[in-house]
């Protein structure tokens, strides 16, 4: 069973399921990493609502995937840890420590989109800064053309 990775803009979305085998999980891990690189994903949302019980192997796989994605430069957010799973996970050991988590996929998506937009803003600002030198030239050009028009009018 291949687990799909969905793309929305520069955010990738995937969901871990309870009936996933370990092989499926590892396949998903490599698919996800490849796709991050392919599309230059700014954010990855990993939803685990479908996981009813997480053992230490699965927890390690999920947190490893998050670390790997982060190494590629993506923001990684884990969503949908069920309360009963959280209870068991903490008793099991602090196996998901370090992974950024939100309540549900909606929140995760909003968080990542905000960050993606922030990133775009930063790009725009960078562009603007780069354009700063051009702008006077543009103005001069405008004036010149206006002047030209004025000349032609007179």
């Amino acid at each position: 069973m291949k687990v799909p990775v969905l793309r929305h803009g520069n955010i990738l979305l995937t969901s871990f399921q309870d009936d996933m085998t370990d092989r499926d999980g590892l396949q998903l891990q490599s698919d996800l990493l490849e796709m991050i690189q392919e599309v230059g994903a700014a954010g990855v949302l990993m939803d685990v609502t479908g996981l009813d019980a997480v053992d230490s192997y699965q927890a390690k796989m999920i947190s490893d995937t998050a670390s790997m994605a982060a190494l590629l430069g993506s923001e990684v957010v884990l969503s949908g840890v069920q309360p009963k799973v959280a209870m068991a996970l903490v008793e099991l050991g602090d196996v998901m420590a370090g992974v950024r988590t939100v309540l549900n996929a909606q929140q995760g998506f909003e968080l990542l989109q905000v960050q993606a937009v922030d990133a775009d803003d930063t790009d725009d600002e960078a562009d603007e800064t780069a354009n700063d030198d051009d702008e006077p030239a543009q103005v001069m050009l405008d004036q010149a053309s206006r002047g030209g028009e004025a000349d032609s009018l007179t």
Binding site: D19, T21, D22, R23, D52, A53, V54, D55, S56, Y57, Q58, A59, K60, Q82, P83, K84, V85, M87, A88, L89, E91, L92, G93, V95
Partner: protein, 346 residues
């Protein structure tokens, strides 16, 4: 060997890990368990099945639903003929792993399980784990109707007054007085600690009594112990009085106090212990009540000498008013306080 309550799963490939998980889910969904208990069991079996694959290559899991007789639990026994665990203490310590994993497996399972037993040697390893259904407030409230049936609701004869610690919402002290088949059963419970968990444990014992008035006192105490397994645990005092003859049997485990106040005071003894963790040392004692004797049970939220007070005020007309008065005048502030007053008139 596969039926609803018992099953064996061979663990030989990675796919068997999810088979064990699903089987655990089926087993525990037969009723009585909460979702967190279900998740705990699934996490435990998943972890242990993986351990077998990793360290012993193959093995088996025997799963049993031991629900019934009060204590609801699922037991899983994992057996393998692998090389065994050479250093058990280290294996049960967080962060220790001879494989490339987090090393939380065994210690985590130990924490998640309500019972954990490990037996290992060069010819293999046996790990036995249990998950118990904990009594919950919701479930106990569902049983309440049953209890009203035999409860004595005559304020002149029986009074129960409970005052939660700091007047909070929950009280770890709970009590009940019931009449059934010509006998009066009195139960005073002090759940360990304060707050909700203490109340859950205490209620569990009271509801267990209410539902099992047909049992003799020692079996009733055992039933309480079973129903409290996995809970906070509690101190429980039980007494049963023959309505006509005044012959009383009583058994007490833990620090609740009891006395019969009449012309003189007779203190009811008990044994140390926690109901919910085994009551093997419990002892049944007998006492003959006399006319106008008052039976008192109280918890450690009241002074130990409460019996003496009762002797001074022994002409009790109204048991409920007397219970209220005792709480008002004597309850200490830093614990739940509870008292049961029963007036026996031949």
């Amino acid at each position: 060997m596969t039926n609803a309550n018992q099953t064996v799963i061979l663990i030989e490939t990675n796919d068997d890990v999810s088979r064990v998980r699903q089987q655990a889910r089926t087993m525990i969904q037969q009723g009585g368990f909460s979702e967190p208990e279900e998740v705990r069991l699934m996490t435990i079996v998943s972890e242990l099945a993986r351990n077998i694959l990793k360290y012993a290559t193959r093995g088996r899991c025997e799963m049993e639903n031991l629900s019934g007789a009060g204590r609801q639990r699922v037991r899983c026994t994992f057996r393998d003929q692998g090389p065994g665990i050479s250093d058990v203490d280290a294996a049960l310590t967080d962060g220790f792993s001879t494989g490339q994993t987090l090393g939380v497996g065994l210690p985590g399972v130990n924490r998640l399980a309500d019972a954990f037993h490990l037996d290992t040697g060069p010819s293999g390893t046996v790990i036995e784990v249990e998950v118990h259904a904990k009594p919950t407030l919701k479930r106990e409230q569902g049983m309440k109707r049953e209890r009203q049936g035999g409860a004595i609701d005559d304020p002149a004869r029986a009074g129960i007054t409970i005052r939660p610690y700091k007047h909070g919402r929950f009280s770890g002290d709970q009590a009940g007085v019931w009449e059934w088949n010509g006998k009066i059963t009195v139960c005073m419970v002090d759940g360990l600690g304060h707050g909700k968990d203490a109340e859950v444990a205490a209620r569990g014992a009271v509801e267990c009594c209410a539902a099992n008035l047909n049992l003799d006192l020692m079996n009733l105490m055992t039933a309480c112990d079973d129903s409290l397994a996995g809970s906070r645990g509690a101190a429980v005092a039980l007494a049963r009085i023959d309505k006509v003859s005044g012959e009383m049997g009583y058994v007490s485990v833990g620090n609740t106090r009891g006395a019969v106040a009449g012309r003189e005071i007779f203190h009811l003894g008990g044994v140390y212990g926690v109901v919910g963790e085994g009551v093997g040392n419990a002892r049944l004692d007998h006492h003959q009540l006399k006319r106008r004797d008052i039976l008192l049970f109280w918890t450690d939220g009241m002074p130990e000498s409460l019996g003496l007070v009762a002797t001074r005020l022994r002409r009790v007309k109204d048991a409920r008013a007397f219970a209220n008065q005792l709480i008002d005048e004597h309850a200490i502030d830093d614990d739940d306080a509870g008292v049961v007053v029963l007036r026996w008139d031949a």
